[in-house]
Amino acid sequence: MHRSKTVAETIKQYRVPSTRTFWQKTANYRTAALYLLPSLLLFSVFMFYPMIYSLYLSFFFTDAQGSATTFVGFENYLYLFQQASFRNSLLVTLLFVAYTVPASVILALFLALIANEKLRGIGFFRTIFASTLGMSVAASAVIWLFMFHPTTGILNAALGLIGIPAVSWLTNSTMALISVSITTIWMNTGFSFLILLGGLQNIDEHLYESARIDGAGYFYQLRRITVPMLSPTLFFIITITFINSFQSFGQVDILTGGGPAEATNLIIYSIYREAFIYYQFGPASAQAILLFLAVLVITLLQFKFGEKKVHYQ
């Protein structure tokens, strides 16, 4: 920032107690209320109220229309943990996170590093790497569904060329989760790449210049300058990728429908199935609350522990 003062700072500085009338004094309140009203109203109706209502529903049995009928306390939660299906969903979700998060971040970091070089035509490569940001989950899943196809799919064709037997990408329970993960990693890359590239470009060029004068090699600079300076961005991307993984739905719906034998029944898919296919709104809401808690805890943990390791400029 080269400018010494912004409007916001100046307003604060020059705010003096005055002898204005009540009507004048509350002018800011009235303006604020008016301008904030749309946001607050929408947040209340579509965020806060439903969050509370989800919690409420999770303690009730409901009818098929979703009206709460009987208060059952923690019955829905207990029921969930007794269900093999739900325990499986938890396990699958954790595995999915383990497959996708590190791979996504490492891939995006690698792409950002090579796209941060000052080379002719680098803009073209950046556009290519960012392109999955424009890919919708429906289109991505449909395209990968075709590539995973056991007989017409290009992946098995490619494996055949190098003499590897065909893989049942979506029908084998181990492979199905890996296939959904591959699709997800690919879809995540565009966004993470773009943010990481932005982070790299914010690093002061002088640091590298002096390192080069000292004769530091590429990997030394990477370890000693790039990664530490990039850590706030990396930290942000890891959190986002984590949360995104928890929220994956479309690729499961199109690629596997949760199968085979619930091998890809990720948590959101499980909530969707419970609520909108089986009309079990109580247990579905209990799952939604557990999802909320998981995301909350991860976010807070990342802030608590991530912050210490993170180098802020």
Partner: protein, 268 residues
């Protein structure tokens, strides 16, 4: 020199791997059924048959139009609602502003999926099923958008503020005559981001539409895939290409802008 060629090799390899699915979908969309059966990578002869068929077999243009309407309305609403809130957080101090700001931040901790069941009931009771309102209004308020705009609003130079005071502009006039034009670029960033995410929405439109009247192209694509799978992959790929074309073009045009804007919003 050595380093340069290593970099170009890595870049090219990475580009091929990353772009292959998109390239392949485009390529297949121009193939005949026999080419697809032979698992070709490039069509032996380019045919527009798949595009002709996808237009006639499903109302894909209708779906595309719906998506345009939904994405445009949402983007516009998002810009207006976020800008109003951002203006307060940047320029209008009042006791308790910090608390309201915290309330905005708290929305970032709520995964949208955790609220979808009650939201679905709300939409039902409002009579918004199969209505554009269901797919647009709930997404107008956006904490991320508010923060992004606020960051930029705060950099409005003092001179502009003083000039506005001298001119005797009201708060609202200062907002739309000075602040909005000044922060044009961050509006563009948020606009691109809003359009991309809304265009690509999947789960919510799936829940709140039960017929083709306002159904978006993403759900149309899912239907197309379910109906046509195993019989006509060329047609499905033509559908997929039509779905991704608008957002890929938007991204190609606005990538630099988006990167700058998002980095600012995410890191600073």
């Amino acid at each position: 020199m050595m380093r340069k060629s290593i970099m170009y090799t890595l870049l090219t390899l990475a580009a091929i791997v990353m772009f292959f699915p998109i390239f392949y979908a485009i390529s297949v969309s121009f193939m005949s059924t026999s080419d697809i059966a032979e698992r070709r990578v490039l069509p032996s002869a380019v045919t527009l048959e798949n595009y002709r068929n996808v237009m006639t077999s499903v109302p894909i243009l209708h779906y595309l139009r719906n998506s345009f309407v939904v994405a445009s309305i949402t983007t516009l609403g998002m810009l207006v609602v976020s800008a109003l809130a951002a203006f307060i957080f940047a320029f209008v101090p009042f006791r308790g502003r910090q608390a309201v700001f915290l309330l905005f931040i708290s929305t970032l901790l709520i995964p949208w999926e955790a609220t979808m069941i009650p939201n679905f009931f709300t939409i039902q009771s409002l009579g918004w099923m199969n209505n554009y309102l269901a797919m647009t209004v709930p997404f107008f308020a956006l904490a991320f958008g508010t923060f992004l705009l606020r960051q930029h609003f705060k950099t409005v130079p003092l001179e502009l503020y003083e000039a506005a005071q001298v001119e005797g502009l009201s708060k609202f006039q200062f907002f739309y005559k000075v602040v909005v034009p000044y922060a044009k670029t961050s509006f563009v960033t948020l606009g691109i981001y809003g359009f991309l995410t809304t265009w690509n929405m999947y789960l919510w439109p799936l829940l709140v539409t039960t017929n083709d009247s306002v159904r978006t192209v993403q759900i149309g694509l899912r239907r197309l895939q379910a109906d046509e799978v195993a019989t006509n992959w060329g047609l499905v790929m033509a559908g997929a290409v039509l779905v991704i074309l608008p957002t890929l073009l938007l991204l190609a045009v606005g990538q630099k802008q988006l990167q700058k804007g998002l980095t600012k919003g995410a890191i600073k």
